[in-house]
Symmetry: C2
Subunit: 324 residues, 2 copies
Amino acid sequence: MPEVIRDLVEKVLAGDRRAIARAISAVEDRDPVAVPLLKELFSRAGRALVVGITGSPGAGKSTLVEKLAREYRGKGARVGIVAVDPTSPFSGGAILGDRVRMQGLANDAGVYIRSMATRGQLGGLAPTTHDAVTILDAAGCEVVLIETVGVGQDEVEVARLADVTVLLLVPGMGDDIQTFKAGVMEIADLYVVNKADRPGADRIEQEVTAMLSLNSRPDGWRPPVVKTVATTGQGIGELCQALDQFRTFSERGDVRESRRKEHWRSRLLELLRQTLLERVVARQLRDGALDRQLDDLLSHKRDPYSVVEGIIAGFMARNGSRQS
Amino acid sequence: MPEVIRDLVEKVLAGDRRAIARAISAVEDRDPVAVPLLKELFSRAGRALVVGITGSPGAGKSTLVEKLAREYRGKGARVGIVAVDPTSPFSGGAILGDRVRMQGLANDAGVYIRSMATRGQLGGLAPTTHDAVTILDAAGCEVVLIETVGVGQDEVEVARLADVTVLLLVPGMGDDIQTFKAGVMEIADLYVVNKADRPGADRIEQEVTAMLSLNSRPDGWRPPVVKTVATTGQGIGELCQALDQFRTFSERGDVRESRRKEHWRSRLLELLRQTLLERVVARQLRDGALDRQLDDLLSHKRDPYSVVEGIIAGFMARNGSRQS
């Protein structure tokens, strides 16, 4: 292992914040050091509780995450926070503001906060976030909180990599349950009615409870509904307790195990697909080779299926002869 | 080539409707005959004008598509229609109703209508739709109309495989432009304000025109806005003319060529990725081999990057030695 990677690995394992930042940046940038680094760190990861926290913009996710982080800090745990930003030109400002507010935690050496942009991630958001969690986990964070806006396939995938997923709802956004029902509602293990001091909190709690009573989960878990006022810290203790209960539940049965297995199955196949394509492109489609194939397609001289077979055959022959 | 495929190819090329239906079903079901069939048909395709028609539910897409088909039929062209159905339990009924209405065309041997479901398509909707277009094109359709609901990545991709994309807007859905702006608005080559006899048609036309005046396209095309009342046929002639104008424009410059090239680039890479993964999974990850790898990952004995490298190395070695 090169000196530079060994050095970075050691510093990450020691919880060095600048090293953690560098490691996550390497993953985001697909720097060549990323893969050897992750290989080393992976064997040291797997202990953290990964909590996904999702909800509409304005639901108070950042404030809740901050308070939850403080609660875990009070118990002596080290905490990692990955805040997934939809880098839209419209919402950029507001989210930046949230981050700045969260910086109240920034002076605590036991908390590591990282924002990740959803746009421009080669190969998708989920793999990058997952690698960031591996790094924080290896760096000794007992809890990793992933904050996402609860819309879009990307965010659903990120939620899936969590051991436990929390959905934030707030009174006065009457359409929330309707909107979320499609995809996000069913992946939540815990519901939080935040801003519970506002009118309508009881109604939304009842709606969620009613909805949950209609759908029993195959694993037998009955998702609790916790009311919080994140700004004052009210209900954060109860939320922590509920998270502990789910953790105990999921570790006792095979819920956590089977969930992680499903997650790894799709992650591994995606990584395999991505890696295979990269290698074939690098070896068979360089120097305008792809454009020549495209010209054949456009003139309908060759069909796409034959072109793909030809590319794969060329790749196999070349590598086969190299290896044998 | 097996007799059964040769027979099917000949019948499709002759425009036999049952053969076309069988060919498209083979693609949807990923039947083994699909690939050899498409290989044969591909060399005979590439002449059809592919028109993507998109818009919100209730915008009148099916009626417009039907009238447009009649207009082209009046000019002697053969017409293929691919209606992409979001198979949601909620909207299923309404859409089925539209199809039934469109069956007014069903007695015309010069029109081929096919519904395709968005859900449950292995490998995504876009490839399947694309193959259906190849079949209709080879079967002699001079025009292929693809109707999609203008939401979701899938539909945007389908729109991209069209030579020209039409976006339907209707008065009284004030938020339409706002909603579409993000992704669909910018891919439209032509705008239709349908139900133009309703109040608000002029306002929506002005809004679109204003929006278009702010964003000039790199190819220099200025998308026209056509007002129609699809139920009465009003404006359908003008829409046809506008489509012809875009066709002339795009064939004169390299717009059509470069658009098809971009489309094929992503389609070819996707097909390559899919095919590679299928072969590796079939040869290296059978009989519980994937599960054993997952167990190693879950216990953090091995990291995902090393696992993927191992799978690829095994695949290459096995195939290399077979070929050399």
